[in-house]
């Protein structure tokens, strides 16, 4: 393995490990959503006047009326988003950790090993969790867009279109996993041929 590739993988690994720590803090977000949802402040504080600037304003909904805010389904929205965010964070942690471990194995010149196969399987599992999270996030984001004209543009801005993309990604990852599994089995057979 070239030195440039080795160092590049090292840099990616460090960034992923830092990201992992940051992502872990995102576990707080679902609780914030639930708090806002069950105290009835979701529409007012969480979406319309969000300090995080995660929401784009739809041109035909620049001003939100009090009745729109009052009629917003705070609890269903917060539950949908909390479930979606929790699943997404779990998926990101599984994905990042798997990539960090694969990079570590590549650094040790361990390519077609059982550990890499297991990590690739974890990546597929992470993608399945992402696909499971998407409907919750998409439904929640559809509520904010249709009821308040606020389009989520933050980290958890999945739409129904994202669900389709993630399903395609899942197929893509699954194909890579099965190809790697075939290669691993071939290598194992070769190693165990005396």
């Amino acid at each position: 393995m070239s030195k440039v590739l080795d160092k590049s993988l090292g840099v990616i690994s460090i960034f992923l490990q830092i990201s992992l720590v940051v992502v872990c803090f995102s576990f707080i977000t679902p609780f914030v959503y639930l708090y806002y949802g069950f105290t009835g402040k979701m529409a007012q504080n969480g979406i319309v006047n969000s300090s995080a600037s995660d929401f784009l304003i739809s041109p035909d909904h620049i001003h939100v009326t009090h009745s729109q805010i009052a009629n917003f389904p705070n609890i269903p929205y917060s539950i949908l988003m909390a479930i979606g965010i929790t699943l997404t964070v779990i998926a990101i942690i599984i994905l990042f950790w798997a990539i960090v471990q694969i990079i570590s194995n590549i650094g040790k010149k361990q390519y077609f090993v059982a550990d890499n196969l297991r990590r690739l399987k974890n990546i597929v599992i992470a993608q399945i969790v992402t696909v499971c999270a998407d409907p919750f996030l998409a439904a929640g984001n559809q509520l904010s867009a249709s009821k308040l004209g606020r389009i989520n543009d933050g980290l958890f801005s999945a739409t129904w279109e994202t669900l389709g993309n993630d399903v395609i990604n899942l197929v893509f990852f699954a194909v890579i996993y099965f190809l790697f599994k075939l290669a691993f089995n071939l290598k194992e057979e070769s190693d165990l041929t005396v």
Binding site: E189, L192, T193, V194
Partner: protein, 69 residues
Amino acid sequence: MIRITLNVVMAERNIATGELAKKVGITPTNISILKTGKAKAIRFSTLEKICKVLKCQPGDIIKYEDDEQ
């Protein structure tokens, strides 16, 4: 299933793994893989050398056993 009886023949000939590996020209690890039955395949060339060193027939070190029995 195929059962490897190399260890039996080795015991009869009183030959150690390291010595057999040296005479056959393969690593002791590979001999160990064969003895423990972990091997998925054996090359004709390896089989020939083992038979030559141990003065035996392939059937002496490889046996077929019916799974149902």
